[in-house]
Symmetry: C2
């Protein structure tokens, strides 16, 4: 569904959000460990998320990554996916045709539109805050 980079990105952002809610800034090392992701690759992804204003980075000793609490409530999964994978989730044809739309559809166009809209809707309505709620009480997990 998503690229590995995007999966790591969502997991990282979710963990940063969780820590930020507790007023903690968190380091690359911690993030990679707690999301079971490769450290150096995660670093690249966090750079992208930082450039896209999804996370804030602080250089130097006691630096790390954080997300303003008010942003934890407003940032949607769709923003993270867009920052890393672009809009191909929304605009790609299920059968890989370059042009595929209502006027000249592939044989599964209509069916795909329904499924993709479901995914799109889910991504656009799920906030980072919502991602963290189960984690706090051990109902959901970011690794394993």
């Amino acid at each position: 569904m998503f690229s590995k980079a995007c999966e790591y990105g969502i997991r990282a952002a979710t963990y940063i959000a969780l820590q930020s809610l507790e007023g903690k800034r968190t380091s690359l090392k911690d993030i990679a460990k707690e999301t079971d992701s490769p450290v150096a690759f995660t670093a690249k992804i966090l750079q992208q998320l930082s450039k896209n204003k999804i996370v804030e980075s602080v250089k130097g000793a006691s630096g790390g990554f954080e997300i303003q609490k008010r942003n934890v409530q407003t940032i949607k999964l769709s923003q993270i996916v867009y920052a890393i994978d672009g809009d191909k989730v929304y605009h790609g044809c299920g059968l890989g045709l370059k042009e595929c739309n209502g006027a000249k559809p592939c044989p599964v166009h209509d069916k795909f539109v329904g499924i993709r809209d479901g995914l799109k809707n889910m991504l656009e309505t799920t906030t980072l805050l919502e991602m963290t709620t189960g984690l706090e009480v051990g109902l959901t997990y970011l690794k394993r």
Copy 2:
């Protein structure tokens, strides 16, 4: 959503089905041309589909690929996807966790299950015959 190989595979199988309904056997060259796919790569994919009994291949002059008419009615997209991409469409976690299930879910597990079930259901209920119906009358397309 699917790999390129799988997209080519679905398009190829659909074109072969369309020709088979008209009693025509079709060659690799034709298939690649009519589905706008790379010839040699399509050959590999057709080999896989042939091994998985989704298409029948006939070697030699005037050989090519075909699908028995009764099979055009019964073969589902899910079989093609499974033959090429395996079951990762069904069993993968949206965030890439190795284990992710109702007991120990990732934060988006439940939401993903819904979307994936929609996709699964679509693949399991769409036959090759259904894929071809719009093509005959120019309502749908396999290239562009």
